[in-house]
């Protein structure tokens, strides 16, 4: 099977300033790549360029197909779930269930099929109880899980996750982690959460000066101290 994502010599300029400069990347079918980089390094731009939302020069190949025009990208997008950095950009339907149904409906499923897929995806993330809630009034962590459910309901082969743990508390973070660990496809993970990256990724890269530099994930015991908050004794 061809690599789901293959980039070669990618260049992106935003507002006249180069953001990506000759970036290359290949992602295998079950590979889990973590990308780290400072604010403004171009991580979001890179993910957008992969799905053709950001104009770029160089070559983008998705599932072995060279993508240049909007139509090429549009054909590949249903197989690539893109979790936007800001959940509010993704949630636009009144209720959670409608929003999660949106992707399957775009794939041509009937309303009943879409609803079944949506219910399954929500249950898989442990948030079935949110189905009838108003989407834009959820907490940050709940929004994140609902956004992810909206992608998983489409049964994608690749997930692109832009800071998935942003604004997620410990309990929802554990649900997120479990769902991603169980995801069988390939994924690219942009995150500052070192523990999250270390336990999910099989490979890491640093985005620096518009290119990807291989990085090492190492796991070693630290003795550390940090402040904790607990309920005070009455």
């Amino acid at each position: 099977m061809a690599d789901p994502v293959q980039l070669d010599d990618l260049h992106v300029t935003r507002d006249g300033a180069p953001v990506l400069r000759g970036l290359s990347l290949s992602l295998g079918p079950a590979e889990r790549l973590a990308i780290v980089g400072s604010n403004g390094a171009g991580k979001t731009t890179l993910l957008r360029a992969i799905v053709g939302l950001q104009a770029a020069t160089g070559t983008v190949q998705l599932f072995g197909q060279r993508c240049a025009a909007e139509a090429d990208f549009a054909a590949a997008r249903p197989h690539i779930g893109f979790l936007f950095q800001d959940s509010d950009d993704q949630l636009f339907c009144p209720t959670v269930l409608e929003d999660v149904c949106f992707g399957p409906r775009n794939l041509g499923r009937t309303p009943a099929q879409a609803e079944a897929a949506a219910t399954r995806a929500l249950a898989g993330l442990g948030v079935a109880h949110l189905a009838d809630r108003v989407a834009h009034r959820l907490s940050g962590g709940e929004k994140r899980l609902v956004c992810l459910a909206g992608l998983l309901a489409m049964d994608p082969a690749v997930l692109l996750l832009d800071e998935p743990t942003n604004g997620v508390d410990a309990a929802n973070g554990a649900r997120l982690h479990a769902a991603l660990a169980a995801f069988p496809g390939a994924l690219i993970l942009v995150s500052h959460d070192a523990a999250f990256v270390a336990s999910l990724a099989s490979r890491a890269a640093l985005l620096e000066a518009g290119r990807l530099v291989p990085a090492e994930i190492h796991d070693h015991p630290h003795t550390h101290a940090h402040p904790h908050l607990h309920k005070a004794a009455p």
């Binding site: 957008r48 799905v51 939302l53 549009a74 997008r77 249903p78 690539i80 779930g81 893109f82 936007f84 800001d86 509010d88 950009d89 993704q90 949630l91 636009f92 339907c93 009144p94 409608e98 949106f102 992707g103 409906r105 775009n106 794939l107 834009h136 909206g150 992608l151 489409m154």
Partner: protein
Amino acid sequence: MIPADPRLRIAAAFAAVLSLSQLTAMPVAALACAGAVLAAAMSAGGLPWRRLMHLEGFVLMLLVTLPLTIPGTPLVRVGPLAASAEGLAQAALLGCKITAAVLTMTLLLAGLDPVRLGGALAGLRVPPRLVALFVATARYVETIGQEAARLRDAMRARGFRPRTDRHTLQSYGNLMGMLLVRSLDRAERVEEAMRARGFTRHLPLGEATPPTGPDIARATLIAGAAALLLLGDRAWPILSS
């Protein structure tokens, strides 16, 4: 030729558009239109082609529909419909007036920063609430536009492609609804943040300085030219009879 003071620009534009809207004689309207085109072509920005293209599309529609809907001497017959000479004349007159007015506004107002435009409106004694509304709108239109663009991107990323079906209509409906809801939310947050910083219904818009002499002369010239056009327009039936 164009005054630098935003207040004078607005006043001159207002006077010019007011007289342009009152023109009734075709030759005078044509003269005004030609003058505006010439002035725009000679200005630093040149002719605003994009804006003109949208505008002339609308004018073209008038040219097609008015002759068919205004009764009068038939020029050509298209099946059961007759195109009247009166309708064509009306459409041509309107086209000239609209083009002249839009070019004048572009020439006088397009270069103004929205925030300075707000200050200028306040200087012209426009009620402060209206000014605040205008400044906030000018500031947030772009933000809301960006928000809409990101929502649309996210929809595309999930495989959305506009078609002529129920799902597409429903999705666009949801998109509009969400934009509205979020704009209201944002308006509330912005208002709270403004109040938190001590806002009391009056935007601090900078000190007003009196307009300079040359600027007043320029604005008077523009307003005078507009008045002259109006005078010519009223005199035309007498002159041509």
